[in-house]
Amino acid sequence: MSLLGRRAAPGWALAALAVLPLAFLAVFFLLPLGGMLARGFLPDGTLDLSAVGEVLGRARTGRVLAFTVGMAAAGTVLTLLLGMPLAYVLYRLTFPGRALVRAVVVMPFVLPTVVVGVMFRSLLAPTGALGVLGWDGSWVAILLAYVFFNLAVVVRTVGGTWEGLDSRAEDSARALGATPWQVFRTVTLPALTPAMVSAATLVFLFCSTAFGVVLTLGGLRYGTIETEIYLLTTQFLDLQAAAVLSVLQLVAVVAMLAVAARTRTRREQALRRGGARSAARRPRSHDIPLLSLAALAVGFVLLPVGSLVWRSLHDGDGWTLRYYRLLGDPGATPALRVSVTDALGNSLRTAIDATVVAVVLGLIVAVLVSRRPSTRRGRRLVSAVDGAFMLPLGISAVTIGFGFLITLDRPPLDLRSSAVLVPIAQAMVALPLVVRLVTPVLRGVDPRLRQAASALGAGPFRAAWTVESPVLVRPLLAATGFAFAVSLGEFGATSFLARPDRPTVPVLIFDLIGRPGADNLGMALAASVVLSVVTVGVMGVVERLRVAGVGAF
């Protein structure tokens, strides 16, 4: 009996473990999403789908859809074109300072979206370094921001695969008479294709659901589905139309995630086959064209950053720290009720809370989805859980934010005035990233190690602890840093939920750039610099931990 009990334990224990994250997902994701959809499709308590055809038939909806998809496609192609040479240079060549350049390239991915928006505005504004191009407020600015933001996804995902490719396959082809281009086309490219598809899918996903960047750069002139949902909800109170667009987005996102997941499994299989043998070498003269392209990409990343820092330190007369001094002054501008430093305190506190929630739940989910049940049903269940926790990655943060407001406003869960909503929403955004970072590490643990521990007399928990806890330390620390950085910069949901007297820094920055006056803009720039420094500092620590998965999917 006791033997039977011990054998049955892991299954029951895992199910019990699953309750906590599933409940969290149900209450703070499905419920708000459902509430939002109910408002749209069940306006009077009865199903009313008449809005679907009407909304989809609107000329404006067509324009928004075309703009979203077209821009996301263009952004994806450009990011791939710029990212591939960079991936080659950073993962197949070795040179002094490579680690630094890698860190620089990852930086934009963790920068708060609003800050990215502010950067490109400071660069492209008529007074900015590239003001002569006249791209301020145009769709080009949004496109550039997409590329800037997602370069890391391509570089790390493709680069990681490229680094692991055994160069001897390429050597074989060369020896058989293939020119460098033929080697790339017939051997390297097919091996990289799954990683490229995976990266492209995610870039497309991130581009088509971008919110903060589009709102700051496009204002109300250019709308994507995401900003349109925001507009429909907050300005026109047209919840039916918002719900239709949310569902449309949901379907598209699920489809894209499914594609990404399929290529990812294929890639994991492919990588398991190949023997890893470091093939990175010093640059030679024939690498110069690719090195130049890579330098161009790095310049593209550094230019907006430099422009932001430079302009935050200049007013009309020259060098100044004035904007930074104003950050601590609550009365600096009548527009704000609190000083930026107070907001930074809020940001840090909520980000810490969100990080704790995301990491604890993410670890549980990762442990769950890295099990390999022996039954077909068990495996299906595991992959369903895996998929469910990826959903928040692509669902409109606006939908979540607004859903929180309309569903968690009455007993038993009246959280509208509570301070926990913001960290919970941020945790929801960070959770899938934590899961993605920790799960591959756990899946990579050879199950025979656990079997060996069991055979030596360790119970199932003891065996898992012995074998898996040592490899978890670094990825967990990295996930913590990553979750913290993401929470710190979260804008979409937070903009709905932060109370006016307790704003976070991204919300405040968005508020500031919407107001006229040099001081407001200067403070927005200075606050962006401060927020970036904190975020990049945290990510610098994460980078030192050398966990492969950050920014790679």
Binding site: R168, A169, S172, A175, L176, G177, Q182
Partner: protein, 333 residues
């Protein structure tokens, strides 16, 4: 004729290949044998043009290949794990070099079928490399390399990843195919048997230097120095009076070897009823086709030897020993 003249390859401060020279006549197979990390793979890559030479030159038919990139050298490379292109079928892999040369599709098909037949895998054309066993993958890799009709075929431990019985069988097949196609080949390996079976000539490499080269049998029997002898499977090196006794017992000329050492293979010393030497068994271990003994031999000292499997030998037993002269080698000290 492939000529390698004073070739050195450096990685930073380490010298991976140090002033290596050899010649490889057309249709000949040369094996470079050495322990892992001795620089033999780097030497192979240098010949292929995949590593830059720090000094020296590689010439083909007298023409310096310094300015000829890998893909124009007309060589082919084969690695221990095949390195088949996973995205292509077996037939596509084999026909790779032919398609690069824009050979018409029908001719490619015919040639691929011919080559698959040659390596003993007809009807495997549509398979994916991932579905093949290790031995089958190596056969396909060989067919792919031969399809290019390489002026020199470069083989990097081609059989090392396979298990022993397969390795032995495939080594024979490889030798057979290379001879039949008249292929000039340079093989690097750490496995004596592989080198011995496949090659006409053999070189031994330590720490980046080629310390000895010659016909395979000659190198096998007459290692140039003690280290080479030990690497080639001579278990003991004895000197002085014991060395003289062993040579005499083996019927070899023992005069003029003062100052030299004698290397002894385990298989040179066998237990018989009436051998010239006597010894005491210290330990006996049964192996697949003999009994392996550790002995104290009178007038020689500790030595390893073999006995027929039927012999029942306990530690302490006294035995007589016969010595085969071909298992002894005189090496300078």
């Amino acid at each position: 004729m492939l000529t390698v003249e004073g070739v050195s390859v450096r990685f930073g401060d380490t010298v991976a290949v140090d002033d290596v020279s050899f010649e490889l006549a057309r249709g000949e197979v040369l094996a470079v044998l050495g322990p892992s990390g001795c620089g033999k793979s780097t030497l192979l890559r240098a010949v292929a043009g995949l590593e830059e030479l720090a000094s020296g030159s590689v010439l083909l038919e007298g023409r310096d290949l310094a300015d000829v990139p890998t893909h124009r050298r007309g060589f082919a490379l084969m690695f221990q794990d095949g390195q088949l292109f996973a995205q292509q079928s077996v037939a596509e892999n084999v026909g790779y070099a032919l398609r690069l040369r824009r050979m018409p599709a029908a001719k490619v098909r015919a040639r691929v079928a011919e080559l698959l037949e040659l390596v003993g895998l007809p009807a495997y054309g549509d398979r994916r490399p991932g579905t093949l066993s290790g031995g089958e993958q190596q056969r396909v890799a060989l067919a792919r390399a031969l399809a290019a009709e390489p002026r020199v075929l470069l083989l990097d431990e081609p059989l090392s990843a396979l298990d022993r019985s397969l390795r032995e069988r495939l080594a024979g097949d490889l030798r057979d195919i290379l001879v039949r196609t008249g292929t000039t080949a340079l093989l690097v390996t750490h496995d004596h048997d592989e080198a011995f079976t496949v090659a006409d000539r053999m070189g031994v490499m330590f720490d980046g230097r080629l310390v000895q080269q010659g016909p395979t049998l000659q190198v096998w029997r007459e290692p140039a120095d003690e280290r080479t002898a030990r690497f080639l499977g001579f278990h003991h090196v004895v000197t002085g009076e014991p060395a003289r006794r062993l040579l005499e017992a083996g019927g070899r000329e023992a005069d003029g070897v003062e100052g030299c050492a004698v290397a002894v293979r385990r298989s040179a010393v066998w237990v018989t009823d009436d051998g010239p030497l006597a010894g005491t068994v210290r330990d006996a271990v049964a192996v697949t086709d003999a009994v392996r003994l550790e002995l104290d031999v009178e007038g020689v000292g500790p030595l390893e030897a073999l006995a027929a499997q039927s012999a029942r030998l306990e530690p302490g037993a006294r035995v007589r020993l016969k010595v085969y002269g071909t298992g002894l080698a005189v090496v300078p000290r």
